[in-house]
Symmetry: C2
Subunit: 219 residues, 2 copies
């Protein structure tokens, strides 16, 4: 069954939202897709008929098994294209999201699989998010929020909490990216900021907001 671009964007948004919380509400979806609740309700009815999700009025939605499968395929395409843009075309990691938002809708299984080979079957996209394989499986690593790491621990940045241009601009300025290895030097109770050290360079200060937007793994 072939989905329209709008339908694919809804399916993907529901997928991401239901990871965090349980049922996804109409308002959440409207906010996430920059559209209006009334439009969301219409689309939910349509996707229900296509049995991509389970929806009862006023109760929010969750993807069906088939819906989840479709979502994983779109996420796979999105992240593979992001990897391509950064790795092959030298885009900055803060510039690729929008473009991938269009490329993800190109329909050709052969294209995706050949792209995957060409890129060397990458496991993570430029933002540290795992790339599903053609069966929808992806690696899961135990990742922690930087704000929760104890002093003196050495960790590696492996993900960011949002794709916003503002966050990525700040990270670029502080020289922090996926794979950056850093040590927690000190934590301040007043504003919950964190002092860290990257490699052997000077100590730098990370605000509470920024620390909460960084996911790390122990090494």
């Amino acid at each position: 069954m072939n989905l329209t671009i709008a339908e694919e964007n809804y399916i993907k948004a529901i997928f991401h939202l239901q990871q965090a919380e349980g049922n996804v509400s109409t308002n959440q979806l409207a906010a996430s897709l920059h559209t209006k609740p009334a439009s969301v309700t219409d689309m939910l009815k349509k996707l229900t008929i296509k049995s991509l999700l389970n929806y009862e009025p006023y109760q929010g939605v969750r993807l069906s098994k088939d819906g989840k499968k479709q979502a994983l395929n779109i996420v796979r395409k999105h992240r593979l294209w992001e990897f391509f843009l950064v790795d092959k075309l030298q885009f900055g990691w803060d510039e690729v999201h929008e473009v991938a938002e269009e490329l993800e809708h190109v329909r050709s299984k052969k294209l995706v699989d050949k792209l995957d080979s060409f890129l060397g079957h990458p496991k993570f996209d430029p933002h540290g998010d795992p790339i599903p394989d053609s069966n929808g499986n992806m690696v899961t690593i135990r990742q922690f929020n930087l704000i929760d790491i104890k002093i003196s621990t050495i960790v590696e940045v492996c993900g960011v909490g949002s794709q916003s241009a503002e966050l990525l601009e700040l990270l670029r300025h502080k020289n922090i990216g996926i794979g950056t290895v850093l040590k927690i030097i000190r934590k301040f109770d007043f504003d919950h900021s964190v002092e860290i050290q990257i490699k052997n360079s000077d100590h730098i200060n990370i605000s509470q907001q920024l620390a909460q937007a960084l996911f790390v793994k122990l090494i």
Copy 2:
């Protein structure tokens, strides 16, 4: 001014049709876009309002200056993506048209220009068609129809008359592609077939229809 995918497909179709003939008729466009004449008329009115073409009822259309500029940009994207698919992703030249038909609509000037660099600024797509640069300029080579070449002449295949899967399948079978160098051995008056020789292999016979679908240059 941002065009929809449907508008871009119309603009590109008009561009290709007006190369061959003068004014492009409603029926020609309908056939080329696999749509109905009534739909074409509607779209022509819309594109006229956007001043992308000059249209008077019953007289057919031609692109305006701006329309031609838009068309060249779409053609550029289409051919660059085709080159990418064949050169980097190992697609066959007979498999790329459909996929490029979607990729050509991804809107990002930066993407196109970076792709162009990544590919090494190719001048021709896998079917031998010239790729416009970012200003809309493309090389023009004097090319002839194979059917018109004299006996004993040595030529190089540089283009095909159509992108149809049927043609490309036949060419693949006969081991003929862009860049193939061949010699005209004999021409038969009965069916206007042509006997040719590729490199030092055996003579093979080319039907009139096939010879008319092959463009070559003198070397």
